[in-house]
Symmetry: C2
Subunit: 206 residues, 2 copies
């Protein structure tokens, strides 16, 4: 679509802003903008304000680096959570995924990425040092590595593992295996192999 | 996804705003919001401002009802356009589509909808009366109906046609036929039939 044919510069600006979002093309952007144009003024203003606030007021928790409305996030501030168990994740979405299980009662540490020499991301570019210091402080008994099963994730796992090998902290990682509901014939061989090696006493699954 | 698991209320608000857009679900909304969170502050503020401006400053051209930054839109205000030919379209996107052809030099009239008794949309709910008055003013020589080929579009065409049948205005409609590049075997029979009935002298297509 020729951008010259937008009937209004203000419209063209709004379309351009939407179109820079990932996965949003010019046609979709135009559709969204025309939708907003038909909404109540206050609704659109509330939308605009929510964006402004998002960037202005959200902070990163100074303890776990999760995003938060307050200096220390709700999870880190909660006395109900087990502060001796730390789940190490790559990003905020992973925190949300683990929280959604309602099976985890420890705290988190958000690395904000994984070590990736190819992309020029080293340990200093992610929050590895704050984790080291947190561990040094001595309260932590177990670190759960919940990083992606990619080469970068494995590199990061290994790097962290080595850093903590001289401490007496328990280091665990998420169990990998056949998903519940998945059929064996469609499971990739690495996952199925891992499921066999790490097989469990049947009583444990009851 | 459980909304309780958003780590921040401000984040949850922004996600909710995005998720009310058509075709945007909660997961997509979260992806977009996390993307914006990583952008420069000024970029996000510019985005927010563009939305506010969109709803605050865009007006409808008082002549053709196209959206515009000014009281009268650029097309209606242009002395280069043929003000005796009016292309009647349903909405703003149609204006943009016709403009993109670069084959039309008249002006437009945006109805803002089509007559649809099923949806309770009558002639008074769209800009039919302003069109009647524009025609009465006497400058217009040709009306081109470029409405959708739906029952509602046809109803609107017919309604308008009857309104203007006692004037000596030329009333035309878009040619319907096999698209350029389309294969006959995949063309629906109504379109192909119309193409045959309205066949043209070969010289005209040269």
């Amino acid at each position: 679509m020729n951008s010259d044919s937008y009937p209004s510069q203000i419209l063209a600006n709004a379309v351009r802003e939407f179109a820079q979002l990932p996965g949003v093309g010019k046609k979709t952007a135009l559709r969204l903008v025309l939708y907003l144009l038909k909404q109540e003024k206050n609704d659109v203003f509330r939308f605009a304000d929510s964006l402004r606030k998002l960037r202005e007021e959200i902070v990163y928790c100074k303890s776990c680096y999760n995003i938060s409305d307050t200096e220390v996030c709700q999870i880190c501030a909660s006395p109900k959570r087990d502060h001796s168990t730390v789940c190490v994740v790559e990003n905020i979405k992973d925190v949300m995924a683990v929280e959604n299980t309602q099976q985890y009662f420890g705290i988190y540490h958000v690395l904000g990425g994984v070590i990736s020499p190819m992309d020029g991301i080293g340990p200093d570019d992610i929050t590895v040092n704050p984790l080291l210091e947190k561990v040094k402080a001595g309260q932590i008994k177990e670190l759960i590595f919940a990083l992606p099963t990619t080469m970068e994730g494995d590199t990061t796992n290994f790097y962290l593992y080595r850093k903590f090998s001289d401490t007496n902290i328990k280091i665990t990682t998420l169990a990998r295996g056949v998903s519940i509901g998945d059929e064996l014939e469609y499971t990739d061989e690495v996952t199925l192999g891992r499921s066999l090696i790490n097989r469990l006493p049947f009583e444990k699954t009851l």
